[in-house]
Symmetry: C2
């Protein structure tokens, strides 16, 4: 059917068109069906229907216009066509049938090419969440995610990499691990993410110090020159399926295990990693509440690594409390930089960073077995790690002469005072992150929460428990209101319960 | 955050807005999150992001504009808000936890109010398909679907109703069942659907004879006056959740059993039905391939009816072959009308219609036990059913004097001739429906397929197997091409295989 084109000037995120309901009936198509737009070439698009499009006209979203050439055609021929075969494969999954490698590849390719609608994407992630995948399927999913994106191929080996499962606030350790590893002569091309539900991702942190948006080629060049890089993965085309899957999972608050595994290992596989250490924070409030679950996850990651030719070690870390005492981009970077400059700073941060860096040093052959952590500590203490980080900052286009005192928290701040003498008996990780986000993190980099008292520490009435920082006064006031309404810490005195004298009845 | 309103003049099917990615970051919201639009009142909308909306502006889809009042405001205040609790209940279902009646009601209400995004709707139907629901949950789902829509309350009882599970082509029996039942003094307010993937739904058929779009009040009035009505359910607000669920299920080609049950019984419950007969076509190519599955479905329907206070009987019917010899709106109506006028017509149509009508006559007390079918046949033979149908046509605003010869098939037609002498050994129901749809059914009411030879019948080479009708020549030619490319019937001679003389090697 020949229809006049009406450009909609709106991006739909997919190849979509809008038909008048009468024309849709005439064509025998319903919402969610596919049609081909035939001009010089063919383009498959998803049908929406709506009365705002007059009969005889097709509303064309921007993606379709752009795909059809430099000038959007005035008239196109619309031909009904069938759904991508992926939709049938997703149905197969629902019916508990195993998929072949080709079928999984097809699904991933259609995801990357935006060929699946939100309904189809949601069915895929929901089914993945409910049924899971076999080990073979997870391997194929990972390979498909690698192969449908850009890959970096290094000439020198081994390539080291590090990943944190997430879920623990203040986890700024990459700022220490990467320079420690690189300072020991190993290559570590670290791609990282921005916070989605957190207060600061590694990419958000590094951005306080230097630009983080690089192509895969640039990441390769910097790594080969300096030994390390801390880039935002989202600026590359590495494992692009991952980001699209996250967009469908986020609204449902699900993180299917099979996709978690594939997502981590695809990003490592695509940068050509040989040795990978994975930080699995466990404990209440993290993504992995129990040791048992953590161990299962570790085994799965190690097996998947083996199948993909990567050597993987996992570190189960304490995740019930934040790492260090800062949450939010600028103050986290300030804390990390201070450790690099002076070795002064929270034990949790120094211990965790050197432990993970140590594992990588041993895996990469830069330290003897059992001596990795010590050597990592020495690299930190000697100033070599700081020197390496400055090289990385410079290579990424930042100012290498920056010191921790140059990094200022937001100009607006407020303390949350302890309501009583006593001990911190509960520390709400998630609430602290929420408060940091309301204060503006990660968008406003000065926003965040400085923790004065952690779980188990003693506090006097009126002493500050946390300080909230913000770049904007109204955000500070919202954050403070939220914190006062639902207090993030519980302080209890030594006297837990007072038993009254017996009363004579 | 105060933002300038840019009206998008496009319907999104949901309450949706578009934010510039910078503003979204500033607000701390991601795609799929909810915000409140605050003008005089509050309206919750789903966030999309896009660069085509300038910073400081919010793109507002038409639904939101309309909801905010007669004039769309120039500026609105945007406040992040949480997801509807339904999303958490859907997550609970994914985790195999049972829902409460209140939780199911909340989901259905949010579906009816368009509060759930496509991702959330898809997660709900996918999970329903995979996990199913308990009998309690199905009852609550049905009650919620009834209570979130319009209901008809009759003063006279019993109210009779009939439903076909579908999947068998040419199933025009409602055109006979409704007048037979009504002619016997019972009330039967039949709401029906249009074809989605079929060639003609009951509403499409009735529309050949009279208008079918009535409000619930009009359906009540006509039924009370005449005894029966054949209306399109989609024009009412009866069980409106059903249509919205179908829109999410159709793109995935799934029909979760729990929603099939709830959908049928909600529509019957909402019109106040006391006695319901349900036609379950079984056999290859239908929705219920085996007798065993059919019986399970029948038991589920009967139990659900009991819980809702409805008396339900199910009829397992032969569904491997079309009912009658016509497929497509006009020719199906012509065939049905001819039976009513002359008792001449296919046995399958007369038998099935009188059998189902007979069950209703017995259930409603209009016929003695065991005598329903005979009485239905007599009602048909005596012309009382025809007279009643004419009254219904007139009450619905059609021409009561219409006869079957007035109803003309499409003016373009082509025969598909038998390639050989022999018998029809395979008859492709689904292919026949596809061909009728390519020829224009149900949109073009003259389009369809006339079946000359059914399974098991003898045919001579060159004799027509089917005739394809169309209102438009180009559609006829497409249908014919499709039929020739993938032949819908298989003819085989009596000699099935010829065994050759042995050859001397």
């Amino acid at each position: 059917m020949e229809l006049k084109v009406q450009q909609l000037q709106i991006k739909a995120g997919k190849f979509k068109i809008v038909l008048n309901p009468e024309d849709a009936k005439e064509l025998g198509v319903l919402e969610g069906d596919r049609v081909q737009l035939k001009d010089h070439s063919y383009l498959t698009a998803v049908v929406e229907t709506g009365n705002m499009i007059p009969k005889g006209t097709v509303g064309v979203y921007q993606e379709c216009c752009e795909k059809m050439g430099p000038v959007c055609p005035l008239v196109v021929n619309i031909i009904p066509t069938s759904r991508p075969s992926s939709v049938g494969f997703i149905k197969k999954m629902m019916d508990r049938q195993k998929l072949t490698q080709e079928e999984i590849y097809q699904i991933v390719q259609d995801i990357v090419r935006d060929n699946l609608t939100e309904i189809e994407m949601s069915a895929f992630v929901t089914t993945s969440y409910i049924h899971g995948m076999t080990t073979d399927e997870v391997e194929w999913l990972t390979r498909a995610m690698i192969d449908t994106g850009e890959k970096i191929e290094f000439d020198t080996h081994p390539i080291m990499d590090k990943h944190s499962i997430g879920g623990v606030p203040g986890n700024k350790i990459s700022l220490l691990v990467v320079p420690i590893v690189a300072a020991n002569g190993l290559l570590i091309p670290k791609t990282s993410s921005r916070a989605i539900t957190g207060a600061a991702g590694t990419a958000d942190l590094m951005e306080v110090l230097a630009p983080v948006e690089f192509t895969a080629d640039e990441i390769k060049t910097i790594t080969e020159e300096i030994g390390g890089v801390i880039a935002w993965g989202g600026a590359t085309n590495i494992a692009p399926a991952d980001d699209k899957l996250i967009r469908s999972e986020y609204p449902l608050s699900i993180d299917p295990r099979c996709q978690l595994l594939a997502s981590i290992m695809a990003k490592k596989g695509a940068v050509g990693a040989d040795c990978v250490v994975i930080d699995i924070p466990t404990g209440a409030g993290t993504k992995v509440p129990s040791m048992q679950e953590g161990k299962k996850l570790a085994r799965d990651l190690i097996e998947l690594g083996e199948r993909l030719g990567m050597s993987v070690e996992c570190a189960m870390t304490y995740g019930a409390s934040p790492v260090g005492r800062t949450i939010g981009p600028a103050i986290e970077v300030r804390e990390a930089l201070k450790v690099l400059e002076t070795m002064q700073g929270p034990n949790s941060l120094i211990e965790k960073s050197t432990a993970l860096a140590g594992i990588l040093l041993e895996m990469g052959g830069a330290a003897a077995k059992g001596r990795g952590k010590e050597q990592a500590m020495e690299t930190l203490r000697s100033g070599k790690a700081l020197k390496k980080l400055k090289e990385i900052i410079e290579a990424q286009g930042g100012n290498p002469n920056i010191t921790h005192t140059d990094i200022k928290p937001g100009e607006y701040k407020a303390d949350l005072a302890s309501p009583a003498d006593g001990y911190i008996i509960e520390f709400g990780n998630k609430r602290i992150v929420e408060i940091a986000r309301i204060a503006g993190a990660p968008k406003d980099n000065g926003a965040g929460v400085w923790i004065h008292k952690k779980k188990g520490e003693m506090v006097k009435k009126g002493e500050p428990l946390i300080t909230i920082f913000a770049d904007k006064n109204w955000k500070l006031s919202n954050a403070l209101k939220s914190a006062e309404k639902d207090f993030p810490l519980i302080v209890e005195g030594m006297l837990l319960e007072r038993v009254q004298t017996f009363k004579v009845v």
